[in-house]
């Protein structure tokens, strides 16, 4: 029921208000004189309901304007002035005329219209007071205000009692007094004044004193036995009481506002600065999450520091291991700022772990040349996790020192700068990381395309090749070259270094081997030529290890040379042997030393002999104790699995390897090329 009522009054406020106003209007046109009590009571009810609905409507409408209390006050003031003018004019025109001129049509029309103007005005003014009351309140104070509303209503209706018995007026007086007391209490809720800017406070000070007086005069006119009082009182005694109460409310409220503002004036500037500090910090927080360019942020920080911390200049320097670099300046030249910074920090003995203040008297002469004389400088470190990455300076021409709050503000901005700097760094790192990952993708792609997709097959020579890339492309390369019907060339190589650079070298190596293998059929000669070619393009610190061999598929003769690569494993019967002919890596030295170091080796393969070429990704794989997988483990696995198919041997090696180095990421590419000679086929 109550909610329904609320709904009606809220949602259809305007319609209800208009409807009741029309009813009130018609009622008064039909019965210009409320000469019986019934008529008077009906009239009072209509007036009350009109006020009630209008109040609900206006209060919703004003709710949207709460952000500018001064506008609200100004509007209320204009209405108060309107009432004042109507009353004054009416008094001067009608003042002498007696009110017993009879009840003409125009007379009653005039008084009803006047009443509407008054109702509208006081409802608007009252709603304004309501908004001011609830403005910036932290607690729910609606009980206080609603109690007052109830007493307003009680005072309104107690007028009816007087109609029945003129001597029965003490309840009305009692309610009236209580309402005024409540008004006084509620008028003290003016905390919103504190949040005004200094300028607004001055403005409010003037307005409030004018309005307080205006409301006071209005009240006096309504209490006096003026013509206005008679017109309104005749129309509705309740309305008259309501008007006088609202006028009292205005007088008291604006009076209190005046004095409160007056007392707030001395702190206005400090409050302004605090408010600016807070809003600047908020802006900075936004900026930090949006802007990743530290330079831009540094500009903002120095500008804000200058403004908020009452300083004349501000600048920001970044400190790296070796040097101090100016990042941004405000209101000071780069040269000056640099000079002062070096003066203060150059010696290196002061590292200003927390904010420091320097009374700069002693070094004035040093800074004089630039035209900037600073007498007080605040230095705040940009600290992240106890590491100082730079300093924020705020400097003053004036003698007065930075107070505690100002120091805190400078430090706060320095902290923001520190966070922003860290952010920018992380952002850059993540971009770099992304770039590296893209690069690795490219490198992996190159490697995949370089390595042969199939292995050559022949009935006497069985071949299996296994390649497991490392996350960072390791630079392993292997390939097969069908040199003739009988001869098969193969290369297993490892380019030093990782990533895209080694992938490119790998591509070059492939090109060289591919073209030279067609011309030179001697492994040693071929490697010498490869070295000559590579040495020209290889960086000083890069090298390539390789084994190049040729197998004769007809007679099982293997010819190979080794250039720094891991040795070849030969598993013959139950014997396993590592064959490591001398030879230095490709790119380590020029001819003739390279050529003389190389030794060609020839092996006559026997039936079921297994030849294994591998990369150091296998032997140098590490376990959690940082131990190498080593040669012996590999030998054992091959020996134990020698009877199985080549693919199974590879699998066995990989299985053991992953068991050995579990919990340890694969560091280097793994290549395993296995040949098996089947004499009898």
């Amino acid at each position: 029921m109550r909610n329904q009522l609320k709904n009606i009054s809220r949602s259809r406020g305007l319609e209800n208000a208009i409807l009741l106003s029309i009813l009130l209007f018609l009622f008064n046109m039909i019965f210009p004189l409320h000469d019986t009590n019934v008529l008077a009571i009906i009239n009072e009810l209509l007036v009350f309901l009109s006020v009630f609905f209008l109040y609900h409507y206006v209060h919703q409408f004003l709710n949207t304007k709460v952000d500018s209390p001064l506008t609200l006050i100004l509007n209320a003031g204009i209405l108060a002035a309107l009432i004042f003018f109507i009353v004054s004019i009416a008094n001067s025109i009608l003042g002498s005329a007696d009110n017993s001129r009879g009840i003409g049509f125009f007379n009653s029309l005039f008084s009803v219209l006047l009443a509407f103007v008054f109702i509208g005005s006081i409802v608007y003014i009252f709603s304004t007071f309501r908004e001011l009351f609830f403005l910036r309140q932290k607690r729910d104070l609606s009980t206080f205000f609603n109690t007052m509303l109830v007493f307003f209503a009680l005072t309104f209706f107690s007028n009816i009692l007087v109609l029945f018995d003129p001597s029965f007026d003490y309840p009305q007086s009692a309610f009236y007094v209580v309402t005024i007391v409540l008004i006084c209490l509620n008028s003290t809720r003016v905390s919103w004044i504190a949040f005004l800017t200094k300028k607004q406070k001055y403005y409010l000070l003037i307005i409030s004193v004018i309005l307080s007086t205006l409301f006071g005069i209005n009240f006096a006119t309504f209490i006096n036995n003026s013509i206005m009082r008679q017109i309104v009182y005749t129309f509705s005694p309740g309305l008259h009481t309501l008007m006088s109460l609202v006028m009292i409310y205005g007088t008291i409220n604006f009076g209190i506002i005046f004095f409160t503002t007056l007392f707030h004036l001395p702190t206005a500037e400090a409050f302004d600065r605090k408010a600016e500090e807070v809003s600047s910090l908020m802006d900075l927080t936004n900026l930090i999450t949006q802007v990743f360019d530290f330079k831009e942020l540094a500009e903002t920080i120095t500008t804000i520091t200058t403004r908020v911390c009452n300083s004349d200049s501000a600048w920001l320097v970044l400190k790296s291991a070796a040097n101090i670099e100016l990042s941004s300046v405000h209101n000071i030249g780069y040269v000056d700022a640099d000079k002062i910074t070096n003066n203060l920090l150059g010696s290196g003995e002061n590292d200003y772990d927390s904010i420091g203040i320097i009374q700069y008297d002693s070094i004035i002469s040093n800074t004089n040349e630039g035209g900037q004389i600073f007498k007080s400088i605040a230095i705040a470190p940009l600290k992240v996790q106890k590491k100082i990455n730079g300093y924020l300076f705020a400097a003053r021409h004036r003698e007065n020192n930075f107070d505690r709050d100002e120091k805190k503000a400078v430090q706060a901005f320095a902290d923001y700068a520190a966070v922003a700097l860290e952010n920018a760094k992380l952002f850059e790192e993540s971009i770099e990381k992304e770039r590296l990952e893209k690069e690795l993708d490219v490198a992996r792609d190159i490697q995949k395309k370089i390595l042969p997709s199939t292995v050559p097959t022949s009935n006497r020579l069985e071949i299996s090749a296994l390649f497991v890339p490392a996350f960072e492309v390791g630079g392993d390369y292997y390939d097969f070259f069908e040199l003739s019907d009988d001869l098969l060339g193969f290369v297993v190589a490892d380019v030093s270094g990782k990533g895209i650079s080694s992938a490119f070298i790998m591509a070059e190596v492939k090109g060289i081997f591919e073209s030279l293998s067609k011309i030179i059929t001697n492994p040693k000669e071929l490697l010498i030529r490869v070295n000559d070619t590579l040495k020209r393009s290889l960086d000083k610190r890069n090298f390539v290890t390789a084994i190049y061999g040729i197998i004769n598929k007809k007679n099982g003769i293997l010819n190979f040379a080794r250039a720094g690569h891991t040795p070849i494993l030969l598993c013959s019967g139950e014997r396993i042997e590592s064959i490591q002919p001398p030879g230095i890596g490709l790119g380590l030295d020029y001819n003739p030393r390279f050529a003389s170091s190389l030794k060609e080796t020839e092996i006559q393969l026997k039936n079921n002999d297994i030849i294994i070429c591998y990369s150091d990704g296998i032997t140098e794989a590490k376990n959690h104790k940082e131990e190498d997988f080593g040669y012996e483990r590999l030998d054992t696995i091959v020996l134990n699995n020698r009877g199985k198919s080549l693919d199974l041997i590879s699998n066995a090696v990989m299985k053991e390897l992953s068991l050995f180095s579990k919990n340890h990421s694969q560091h280097d590419d793994i290549t395993l090329v296995i040949f098996k000679w089947n004499q009898n086929n």
Binding site: S496, G497, K498, K540, R541, N542, F543, T545, A563, G564, H565, T566, P567, Q580, P582, G583, I584, G585, L588, D589, R593, S597, D616, E626, D628
Partner: protein, 117 residues
């Protein structure tokens, strides 16, 4: 993770670099800094003491390759000493003993520089 330490000291006219821990692509720049410093000071006679080195990667080897030419052009050299067997095997596999001088003791290596004088 893997740690690496490098220390430079002078023994007579010879500079001795002590390397310690894991020398790989990440730590190689530290060693390069030392070599750059030596070039700045025109110190071309270098002995690298591998006594406490646990592991060397191809990037670590690359550092010596990058500087040895300059040293030799200026009548200096890079000589290696006190190498553990596992580290020596890596050098050996690549054929470094053909190109560089390896010594068991640092003293020997330093002494060899004296010979050339």
């Amino acid at each position: 993770m893997a740690e690496f330490n490098v220390n430079l000291r002078g023994v007579g006219s010879v500079s001795v670099i002590d390397v310690k821990g894991y020398l790989d692509a990440h730590t190689a720049p530290e060693l390069e800094n030392i070599f750059n410093k030596l070039l700045d000071e025109r110190q071309f006679k270098v002995v690298v003491n591998f006594d406490e080195l646990k592991y060397i990667s191809s990037a670590g080897l690359g550092v010596f390759m990058a500087y040895v030419e300059t040293m030799r052009e200026n009548k200096g050299d890079i000589k290696f000493s006190n190498m553990k067997e596992n580290v020596y095997n890596i050098f050996d596999l690549l054929g470094f003993p053909i190109l560089y001088e390896f010594y068991k003791e640092e003293k020997e290596a330093v002494y060899k520089f004296g010979d050339q004088r």
